[in-house]
Subunit: 342 residues, 4 copies
């Protein structure tokens, strides 16, 4: 038997626990060797369930252990950048949930630390590992779609998160739409020139109180003149919405699930299916696949496919979308270049 | 302006009235010149609505009028054969609702009269003019499906007709499944060798009292060994069912509508569409197209595409299916050849 | 028999001929009494085919005839306003293809003439009579969707029209997107506050030469803060695109056809259906229904459901969308009020 | 940490290897402790890959080890019964791929051994653990479908297996249709009264040479008069077919996948999706779930949900279907009762 990649998971909340299970049971080339969480109870419970002997409340222990090869960071967003910097200094490969940080300056610091240390960084844009999106990207890259002229990307969460969460999450664009910012850049394979945002607080007056919006559409112009439209919602009246349409000169792709279970129910009132209502259901396989790919990149000694540049670019789009909303004008991405005027 | 085909419609019940409207408004090459119905009230009402001056309760008047070129027979089934024979003797082209008659002997008499007179006969198997079925038949004939090995044909009516109707309709196979008998023969392009029937009275005990069944499956073997399965129901729990699947060596076709209106309704409970629940909705265009084709065959002086042979063959299959059910054995179609042992 | 509404059709090009056939064969309460077209050949051919005795190249003859109750105007756009004004002065009810005119001033003149004469005007926004859209509107109005927060409306034509047509059609927003401007206003049931446009010439350099765009997205804010996004394309890589999504607090509606023919073709390469690729196929029933409704409004002496106000409002949105594109800023609809600063 | 169920897998061919992976990585309550295979190479390779120290070519070693709690039997069909009997005598719980044996007498021996030893037996009818089928069964049992009157069950394999396999597999009914025999019994919740079979060799003349058929339809009558129709094919022209329709007095269910990947590809030629073409893709989750359930039944000390009775009943239906084909008559299941006349 060959040596497996030794991985520690930091933060075992909803998504971190999922990541830990994947490392423990679904990535044969890795082993889960330690769990860290600010809550001792959470850390111990997860360690017991996953048959891991070692747990801690102090991530510094993880960083100090030379027998740990890589870390999966799924703690609260505010801790991401410091943990990335610490792990980079300790020479560990890093998988980090999005976003790297809520602000560009801190993001740039973390990115610089990763570059200086020469470690791997993968950002948790799981959509890049989702089979339907991977297939679409592959068809686009193959040329079969011709030149891509327009992308429509829609995402609506089931219900608003708690006010506590929403007050500190950085707003709809850094928290939710950031997935779509990455998605349209990746699918189009183009840099973004400009965005314009329309947004309203329609779902809950809380969003207006937080100086945020809950319903928005961001128009995007890419460097080559192609366009995208990104719809975001803090609440889908029907449960959950993740769909993307790609329009090329030779055809179009419609990405997304209609049915969750392959059963159609016919009654006199109509034909009904259920549909996917929860991101952990929708992206279950993608959350596994992104960690399998991360481990594989370590085993193969190759770069990760979605790293620092992608993480920064998506956040810069969020900045631009916010400024457009605040200043009621189209905003160039160049305003947020490193060393730029932002 | 060229001369239009002068058509009389005999019987303006539900379907006959529909036929009369089609002749009046949707077949520019024909004109509706007379209406006959056993009920003077029904005849006059239809004539008024369709702006036809002439109506009668006596079909003999229609037959006697040399200025009438063709008749559409949509009166009760028991009258079909006599009207066909009278029209044939009068030299008129004939469109007749299915079936020609409820028994083979009478059917043969009518067919012989048509042949002797050299007039056209078209039987109202409207499915042959339905766009989805026409497209499927065309794909089969083109060879793109390879050799056809199996057909599954399903038909379930919304609710049982009245006891009065059911007692005189000839039973499920002559009344309802006869559409499917014609359909599978047409699509397969093969003569039928043998059938076997399983049937039950599950929907309503009335069917058992009438010595009939309401739920059945007829297995069909064609001359070349290919197979079909025909499912019939006197009541679809969900409203109405008309679907056909064709399995070839190179692919398969699934024919039938899921949605009626092109609207999907998403709620937290699922995704719902309506669906087609009524034969006049499902086959609206086909009921028009079959009369347009009938008129066109007169204008072009060509044979009709679905005539005596098709009408007799479908009825013979109904006879065979009944005998199989009664005698609990597979039954050869050869038992019902003309001059045969039936 | 009651008296039928006597209708003349002016302009029997592609759509006008379709309208004439509908009046001749599918609106039993109306009769087609005259045809006018600038081309004598076109007028005579149509009159022959539809068995109408009277045709002319001079619409003034139509206007002068007191026995004509109503006109259907389907001549070239440049002639619409003058014909509306003439018909109004002659006291005839008017059905006119969209748009009323290419500019707001002329539109206002025509509207004023209609109002002064007290005749009916119906504008040819056929989508308002399309069964799926009618059903969606009815569900929205019933309250079952909750409050509507967002509408996504997509329309992409099969291929660009000729350069001659495009040079005089008024640009993408007055020519094509005007259908969507009317559509989102109607579905949302709200006045429009502001629009922002992004557009590019990606399909054909001809559009840039004409100072037009071929691919665009218009963001719309309504008076109550709700939003819409309208995607337009002069060429759908896959043929034709007409789809609308309505997001409410209680659910969503997805409007549009996937399949044209109810046949799914399964092969080893996948599952395929055809899809609707032509507006006369997609809206065949709607083009009939809008004229049936127009005739019915005359018979019933009721207003038309889509008249002057709708025609002007959609054109004002087109103006605003153009100005947004030209001036690279969000534009208020108030800039185009009558007596406004536009 | 609690003690995990110690499982050995016997036979690591295509499906056995899959089972071993599931035990190793996806059933946290079990651990994979040994692998047996007639081929030392196969056993060692699997053991290495799955990090299991112990492997053997002799199943008797497995049976003799008191530290092994349960066995998963996925070796060739001819070995199933003897291994079941040995495992039962050794007091081990047993998961065995279908069928228990190719003949009823041997099946009865194995069943008796299991009963005498009081161990668990679960037969590998994985469809019972497939989410769409589980949902359908649950809806049926809830009463929402009303009384079930008809089931249509279709299964068509991608391509015929090798002649060697086909010559020893027991024929289409024991090898392939046995899944559907179990499926319709389970969904209907009724004993079978009678079957009738039509079958042909259409796909490959090899089947006729083997005195087998490759295309068949089996009509089924249940004890309560309800019906089923089972279509089987040794080759789906389009790849793979697993679909079931359930017709109840209150509605119907259509079970099965159309798309594999949630991407629709629109071109001028139509709308295309891929579809599932391989049983290990279609039933991936079910193959996991059935072993998770088996392990859970051991942990919870409960019976398995699909055991001896189901295994025997499905095989008896296969016997009846074969006899019907050979003797060209409907055949009662009672002919194959234990102690019966078969």
């Amino acid at each position: 038997m060959t040596q497996r990649v030794r991985v520690a998971v930091i933060g075992v909340g909803r998504l971190g626990r999922r990541h830990a299970e994947v490392i423990a049971y679904q990535t044969p080339q890795a082993e889960l060797v330690a769990i860290a969480d600010a809550s001792a109870e959470a850390a111990r419970t997860a360690a017991d369930a996953l048959r891991v002997e070692r747990w801690t409340t102090d991530p510094a222990e993880i960083m100090a252990d030379p027998n740990i090869d890589a870390v999966v960071i799924a703690s609260s967003t505010a801790t991401h950048a410091a943990l990335i910097i610490a792990a980079a200094k300790a020479g560990k490969d890093i998988f980090c949930e999005k976003p790297i940080a809520l602000d560009l300056a801190t993001t740039d610091e973390a990115i610089d630390a990763v570059a200086a240390a020469g470690v791997r960084l993968q950002v948790g844009f799981q959509r890049r590992f989702d089979v339907p999106y991977v297939k679409a990207k592959s068809m686009i890259d193959s040329g079969v779609m011709g030149s891509i002229e327009f992308i429509r990307d829609a995402m609506r969460d089931p219900v608003p998160a708690s006010r506590e969460y929403l007050a500190t999450c950085g707003g709809i664009f850094r928290d939710l739409t950031i997935h779509n910012f990455d998605n349209v850049r990746w699918l189009m394979g183009q840099d973004v020139d400009e965005v314009f945002t329309m947004g309203s607080a329609l779902v809950d007056p809380m969003f207006a109180e937080l100086n945020d919006v809950d319903t928005s559409v961001v128009s995007v112009r890419f460097a080559n003149g192609s366009l995208a439209s990104i719809e975001s919602g803090r609440r889908a009246g029907f449960g959950y919405d993740v769909r993307t349409e790609v329009f090329g000169s030779e055809g179009a792709l419609m990405i997304g699930y209609t049915r969750e279970t392959a059963v159609l129910h016919y009654t006199k009132e109509g034909v009904t299916s259920d549909h996917v209502q929860w991101f952990l259901d929708r992206f279950a396989d993608a959350y596994t696949a992104e960690l399998v790919a991360f481990v594989q990149s370590i085993v193969d000694d190759t770069p990760t496919s979605v790293g620092s540049e992608a993480g920064r670019a998506a956040l810069a789009m969020a900045y631009a979308a916010e400024r457009s909303l605040q200043e009621h004008r189209p905003v160039k991405l160049a305003e947020f270049n490193r060393g730029g005027t932002a």
